[in-house]
Structures are given as C-alpha cells and as structure tokens.
Symmetry: C2
Subunit: 200 residues, 2 copies
C-alpha cells in the first residue's frame, strides 16, 4: 500500500532537493495537496519557467530572464572599469543588497577544486580573462569564499593577471560585524590582525 | 536588484510550504534551477497532477487516483465488518505499513477542535455514522492521536454509537516499542499502567 501515484511522484521530486528526506518530502507533498488551485498552478508554472526562461548573461554569466544580457551589464550608470568576481548569483545578490558596490560583476560557476574534478576551464575563468583583455578594466575585486577552494581560485586568477596593468584586490577578511569574538576561530582572528588598519 | 522574475516566483512558492523560510526557499529554488530538464518537468507535472487527479474516496475519504473508490474500499479480500478511524491518509499509510490490520478505514479530515473552529460536521463524522448504519459493521476501532483533540473526537464518536450493537474499541496507549523509559512523560506512564496486561 502506497500513496496515490501522483503523490508518490511528488514525494520523489521533493526528495531530489538538498536536505529533504522521506518524511519531510511527505509532509511537503501533503502541504501542496492543500494548496489553493491558484498557488499550485503558480508553483508548477514557476518550476517550468525557471528552467525554460532563465539563461546566463552572455557577458558576466549572471542569471537573466527575457534578455541575453543581464540588468547589471546593461546598466550604463554603473562603473564598467571594475569587475567584482563572485562564486555564484546568490553571492552577487548579497553584494547588491549591501548597496556598497556600483561596478560590474563576473559570476563564476563554482570554485577550483581538483578533488571534485572542477578545473579552471569549468568555471568561466577564461571568459573573465577575455573580458579583462577586451574591456577597459582597471580593477578586479576578488570576492570569493575564504575556503581552500576560494583561496586557490583567487590565487589562480591573480597569477593569470600578473604582468597586466589591471589592479587586483581582494575583499577584507576579518571579524563579521556584530559577531561575538568568543565564537570566532583562530584563522579569522589571524586574518583580522593581519589586515589591521591604522587609526591614528 | 532581485533575482530574475521566475526565480523570485519560485522562491515565493517554496515559502508557502510549512517550515520553509526565505533563505531555505532560495536554496531550494537554486537546486531546482540545477535540476535536469526531465526532473524539473516531472516536478512541475506532479504538482499539477496531485491537484487535478487526486480525489477523496467516496466511501472512506482516503485519497484515490483514477477511480472514485480507493484501492482499500474496493478490495474484497479485506474484512468489511471492521472500520478503523484515522485522522488522515498519512496515518492510514502508517497502519498499512504495519501490516497488522486487514479491515477497512474511515479517514477523518482532522480532529474536533472548538478553539480552531473545527466542529464534528467538518471532519466527516456524519459520513462515518451513516456508513456504520448502512454497512454491516461489527467493530469500530478508534485510532486517533492521544492529544486533547483526539480524545475529544474519540469520545464524541463513542457517544454517537451508544445504544447501537457496534463494538467500539480504541488502540492501546502505552510505551512505544524501543523507547527509552527515562524520556517518557508521566501521562504515557500512567496510560501504560492503566492498560497493563496479565501475564500469569
């Protein structure tokens, strides 16, 4: 005895999502069963739409819909001499939310990770270098995770840009604003110390 | 700056699900974006299907697909003189998985809860009583939660069947198999004691 076929199928689909197991998938599927017809249709359509309508921006690899070039690349008011290199569109959105950056971006598709078989040519680094050569870029800001993979990727890009007159910078590592010092790890403390700023 | 429109819509839909907040909805939506076309189509279709194909069994109120009467009600090999009353299809599946019951079911749509405005007429109790009058039922097994609402609902059904020659039973409350005694609450211990069985 199992659930009706469509329900079983929906449960299987929910189980494909990260962090969702059998019990949770059942719970979510029953919740969908109780959705209004309107919401269920919206849910079903939006899954279809994200797969069919969303494409990668042909310049910066950001996600875009209804056009080949994303809203940031086509925004002439932004500083086009600076490129901020991020790991994913999610990270790009975080930077945009901070309102602290008005240049352009380049979205990688992950980070270099020999263990997982992810090589530089898999994550749009060549496209970044081509862009830097073609467009008039003054500064490349590396805004990648401070993980081993992030550091490797930053270093790799830095090496590739050696000898060019592009300035390469890296966002500061240190204590997060509002964080409680006692919960910080030794490496973060070390980075915060190394990056200390002169106040007087 | 936000995510592309379809992605925003998908995030909103995930947020309608219980226990899924903003961050989690974003994470799941990005996972859908990485689904294979086949899986995305399956996901989208199954949401549609559960809403359009699944109906309630006209006899026992269980979920059924492709027919008006569910597979349990139409199974002649099952004992049709016994009805096990459960709160939901989920509970029915649990009983089926136990392989301990070969009678029929009646699926309520929740439990009586004056606080939440759920009255007996909202949860298919009338349909249960009509069934008991019409079919030749010998035993009604109450298999509802031991919560206040479950107990109220059990008591209500018991009252309605007073004076009829139908035997009404309730599944045993006690210590769950494999549970560690020290984590059990006082009420469970009390019920386990009240329901003690003579061994010799």
């Amino acid at each position: 005895m199992k659930f009706p076929k469509s329900l079983e199928e929906l449960i299987e689909c929910f189980k494909l999502l990260p962090g969702i197991g059998e019990k949770n998938a059942e719970r979510l599927s029953f919740a969908v069963l109780k959705f209004s017809d309107e919401n269920a249709e919206k849910f079903s359509n939006s899954i279809n739409n994200v797969k069919t309508k969303i494409v990668k921006c042909s310049i910066c690899n950001n996600l875009t819909e209804d056009s080949e070039i994303c809203s940031i690349c086509s925004d002439d008011t932004r500083d086009s001499s600076t490129i901020c290199v991020v790991e994913s569109t999610k990270d790009l959105i975080l930077f945009e939310k901070s309102n602290a950056y008005k240049g352009k971006y380049h979205v990688l598709e992950g980070l270099i990770s020999p263990l997982e078989g992810i090589n530089p040519e898999d994550i749009k680094i060549n496209e970044l270098i081509n862009r830097i050569k073609k467009e008039k870029i003054k500064e490349v800001i590396l805004a990648l995770n401070t993980s081993m993979e992030g550091e490797t990727t930053s270093l790799y890009i830095l090496k590739l840009l050696e000898g060019t007159d592009v300035s390469v910078t890296k966002i500061a590592a240190g204590i997060p604003v509002g964080a409680d010092m006692e919960y910080l790890d030794a490496l973060t403390i070390q980075r915060a110390l190394e990056g200390r700023n002169k106040l007087s």
